[in-house]
Amino acid sequence: MSERRAVVSVEALSKQFQGGIGRRAKRALRDVTFSVREGEIFGFVGPNGAGKTTTLKILMGLIRADAGRATVLGHDVRETEFRRHVGFLPEAPYFYDYLTGREVLEFYARVCGVERARRRERVETLLEWVGLSHAGDARLRTYSKGMLQRVGIAQALVHDPQVVFLDEPMSGLDPIGRKEIRDLVVRLHAEGKTVFMNTHILSDVEMLCHRVAIIVQGEIRYEGDPHAMLEGEVRDTDVVLTGVAPALIESLDASVQGGLRGVGDRIELRVPHKAVGDLLGKALAAGAEVVSVSPRRATLESLFLTAVEQGGRQ
């Protein structure tokens, strides 16, 4: 994949937002550099407020960078013409709710310069594609959040773009809605489109993305293979036991011992996810009582820290 040309290229991008009167300016991006290759699903990952949306808005020409350079399909993002090859779904999109699904797509098709003759056909295809054919004549104010998100994807695709930018496409949706959007993203990829996706949900990254960049506090901390990154995710489980005999403690292996804290006959253990069954078996056999077993999911922050420790940028 690495030989493919870069569809999005961001070099040393910086942005500072002016605060109001008497407020300090906020630095949103510092020296951000990464690139997206043709045909891949690229995850732009970071906690809320890290600068994901700011970066995406710079790419969409909604915000101007203070310094650095960003190109999409080889064009400076301040141009407008190249956007006929770019689709964009903003976070929690809102559309003209006085329009029907069909009207809104026709409007966007017109703005995108889709020829009148092809417009209707294109709109019908898209409604079908995102599964909204039945709701095409209903006003958007009657739509559910998931339906709106699908309209959002449809409007991003109305002019058949080569690259699609999605800002938090799964946020605020129920599990079924999220699955539908995931399926759409996979289909986009299958159709040969490059997908750029902002997200803070790791499982989505894990399932969908070929490559990721991680941004924390306006700085890129990692760019590369998500699986390599996720291997660093240590999924631990906290186990609390009482009535523990000293013999049991000694029998536990060294890796567990490191995460041991004891107060009297009560101990708290942090063990790798895979070792939990083994531990509980031993503990019950030794007559200990299990107070609680709570899996610890890695937070993004901790994950990012690990990612940085493990070598930062590749």
């Binding site: 903003p90 003209y96 966007y108």
Partner: protein, 258 residues
């Protein structure tokens, strides 16, 4: 020419949004009611009743046309930003200037439709009351439409960079000053100081001269209207609105949509 197609798309959608807006109908209804109350007011006088009737009607049209221009205009622009619909539009192959122009023409067509509706109410009332209707009445309404073209451009200018509240205040303020700019200039011209005279003259040149668009008195009095009384204000409105739209575009193109 796809730029024009895009401008038309935005304009068409703006008209559609405005037309599906309930507030608009309320405002037009009030305007029509006010035009109707002219009949009552006129009945208080024993002479020149038709004149009073038409004064009230014209005033209602002017006030409501401008009020709708300011509040609906600013509201519709701000809504695009506030509800983030502008994100999806500006990410399309459309220049910001095209978006702004599309909004402008959409608003203008909406307002002109309103003026047409209110004008129809005016005509009906005038006919019922037996008041004269001349070409001058059409010219007066035409200049109200031109005034609105200037006011909407100013509303867009302000909503390109400030909050809707402030934009409404600024636009309403500029409208008021625009109706006084001649008087201010006349006051300044009486000054002893050369600086004051030049300053007021300069201020007069920069501020919109909105009293140029008021031919309603001429129409209601049956005064003679020269062609230049109509053509020059139209040219002035065209030039002034174009310049204001330039400024609005300049600001709008530099704005960050956070």
């Amino acid at each position: 020419m796809s730029g024009i197609e895009r401008i038309l798309a935005i304009a068409g959608n703006t008209v559609r949004e405005a037309i599906r807006h309930r507030v608009l109908y309320t405002l037009v209804f009030f305007a029509l009611a006010l035009i109707g109350t002219g009949v009552l007011l006129a009945s208080l006088s024993y002479v020149e009743r038709e004149r009073i009737l038409q004064d009230v009607g014209f005033a209602a049209i002017r006030v409501f046309a401008v009020a709708i221009a300011i509040f609906v205009g600013i509201h519709l622009v701000h809504r695009e930003v506030d509800r983030r619909t502008i994100f999806t539009i500006l990410s399309k192959p459309i220049a910001r200037s095209e978006f702004l122009l599309g909004k402008y023409f959409g608003l203008l067509v909406t307002l002109w439709l309103q003026i047409a509706v209110m004008g129809a109410g005016f005509v009906v009332i005038s006919m019922l009351a037996g008041a004269p209707l001349e070409v001058a009445h059409a010219a007066a309404l035409g200049l109200v439409a031109a005034e609105v073209a200037v006011v909407v451009s100013v509303a867009l200018l302000f909503s390109a960079f400030t909050t809707p509240m402030l934009a409404s205040l600024f636009t309403a303020g500029l409208w008021l000053i625009g109706h006084l700019s001649r008087d201010l200039r006349a006051l300044g011209a009486q000054s002893e100081s050369d600086v004051v005279r030049r300053a007021t003259e300069a201020v007069y040149r920069v501020l919109p001269d909105l009293s140029a668009f008021d031919l309603t008195v001429h129409a209601a009095r049956g005064l003679e209207i020269a062609a230049s009384d109509v053509v020059m204000p139209l040219a002035y409105a065209f030039g002034y609105a174009t310049l204001v739209l330039f400024a609005a575009t300049w600001i709008f193109e530099r704005r960050d949509f956070r």
